[in-house]
């Protein structure tokens, strides 16, 4: 067990950001915290990263207590905070060289490792350039490369792809898969359900500082959602007007109302669509898709992940 938390709590004044969560992360897995903005993901990650003291509960990383052995734990983990925290006035490789020294690596060790990591992060041809003009995806890859300089056993990634375009996200995911294959334990926070589904072996769904569900992405979908979803958009200001007409349609078990559409949870999307048509319900558009973690979240909290 690399990380174990019991009743882990973080408060800021009267405000409870993390409300007594229990988490265990095993060696070699990719573990996720999925939740909307403000759920308490970063606060949790900062406690695990030993940069923010827990207010209450018990936390062990590598079996050690952050309150006692913070520097020793930090020596063994890598951390990509939500903000990149690079010195953008320095060059790409200078940012790596400086960081290696913080871990007590010799100059020669740091330089060698930096060369490998630049290759890994696909930044070798930019190594002598200042960081500032690099794209967001490159800066994120540099931050990840930097967090690997000490060859960590556990890598913390707080919203690794937020703000990146789809292509940059896929490059990053590919790098993270490679790390996982090499045996690095990953802890990832995200508010993107596709990212959680892609990267995580196991995850917890977090909301208002609490864990509302836990399992593999597949488990969670089977447990909290149906096989398929039919999304209906109507030419109407208030989609609530159409709930009655849709309720009880074939194969469906549940209807959720969103501001711009209705979601019909069903075991057979085609049968549901056909029955709607037969009933004379004519939406502007009908989309049949598989259930995702977004649906799990909606079911558990009544809200969407990304607002």
């Amino acid at each position: 067990m690399l990380v174990s938390a019991r009743g882990l709590t973080k408060t800021f004044g009267d405000f409870v950001a993390v409300d007594g969560i229990d988490v265990e992360v095993r060696r070699g897995e990719a573990f996720g915290f999925l939740g909307p903005n403000g759920a308490g993901k970063s606060s949790t990650m900062r406690m695990i990263g030993c940069v923010s003291p827990a207010t209450g509960g018990e936390l062990r990383i590598f079996g050690q207590d952050p309150a006692v052995d913070g520097p020793a734990i930090r020596a063994r983990l890598g951390s990509c905070p939500q903000a990149d925290m690079l010195d953008e006035e320095l060059t790409v490789q200078e940012n790596l060289w400086i960081y290696g020294r913080y871990f007590g690596l010799t100059k020669a060790q740091t330089r060698k490792r930096a060369t490998e990591l630049l290759d890994f992060a696909q930044l070798t041809d930019r190594r002598g350039d200042k960081v500032e003009p690099l794209s967001g995806g490159m800066k994120r890859r540099l931050t990840i490369a930097r967090s690997l300089i000490n060859n960590p056993e556990l890598l913390l990634l707080d919203e690794p792809t937020t703000g990146l375009d789809p292509q940059a996200r896929h490059i990053l995911w590919d790098r993270l898969f490679r790390l996982k294959r090499q045996g690095v334990t990953l802890i990832i926070t995200t508010h993107y359900m596709d990212e959680a589904e892609q990267l995580c072996d196991r995850l917890v769904v977090m909301d208002h500082g609490r864990i509302v569900a836990e399992g593999s992405p597949r488990d969670l979908i089977t447990r909290y959602s149906t096989r398929e979803v039919v999304e209906l958009r109507f030419d109407s200001d208030d989609h609530a007007d159409h709930i009655d007409a849709v309720t009880g349609v074939a194969a469906a078990s549940r209807v959720e109302l969103l501001p711009d559409r209705l979601l019909v949870y069903t075991d057979d999307g085609d049968a549901t669509s056909a029955d709607l048509h037969a009933r004379g319900v004519i939406p502007l558009s009908t989309l049949v898709r598989r259930s995702t973690l977004e649906d799990v979240f909606l079911h558990l909290t009544g809200r969407t992940l990304v607002d």
Binding site: P53, A75, R178
Partner: protein, 290 residues
Amino acid sequence: MSSSTVQSTATTTAPGGGGRAGRGGHGTREPLSWLERIRAVVGYFLTVYRRTWRGSIIGRFASPLFFLLAMGLGLGSLVDAKAGGVGGLSYLHFVVPAIVATQSMWVAMGESTYQVMGYFKWNKMYAAMLATPLRVADILTGHLLTVVFHLATATTIFVAVAAEFGGFAGWGALWCIPIGVLTGLAFAVPVFAYTASQQTEDGYNILFRMVVSPLMLFSGTFFPIAQLPVWLQPIAWATPLWHGVELARGAATGVVSSPVAAWVHVAALLAFVGIGWVLALRLFTRRLVA
């Protein structure tokens, strides 16, 4: 892509082996010594300096020249002609050692205000360092040692240039270098603490207008504080600058009221550094470890 090499430098501990595995491999890592931690922090700030030293070095040489021109040839010739100098010294020899201390204050302010704020807020380098085995005290020590380096460079250049143009009466001027560094540090450490307590740069307006600028005028740099109204004099005693000015002037001119007074000045400056350190450590920790 040779991603397979990412972990190639790992020297993995033997299974069950509880021993240290150096720092490249998995398992417990050998802790860094104090010296290694401080060197790593100083290493960062010197890397930053390597990018900017050309611009700053020009200022370091220009500033004594401007002062000598204005004070020595301008004001000095007037004072010497009308009043026969100050207390038996030519105005130039009276004012130059004091200006060494004063410009140390300015250098210290430059290093401990916007710069420090930047490391908190803009590039968040302090926070980045704290994600590693480094601690708050290491960061503060390393950064302040870098400030000492800047103070030493600036003061040495100032003294050398001023000496070249006849700003000092004798070799006592060399004392101005450590005194200048100590005076600067007596500002830098408390101002590091002040910066850690400020969320925005607005607080610097007050600091510069209400503290630093008046100090330059009323700490005995340009005229003895005995010229000030009696009620203003104790205020000068409570500021680091006056102690620095008195020390530097005494050391450079050899005109010292008493050796005891000199030690009192040193103790006062050290007190600013010491109290500043305690405050800075507390406020840095409060700001960075939330």
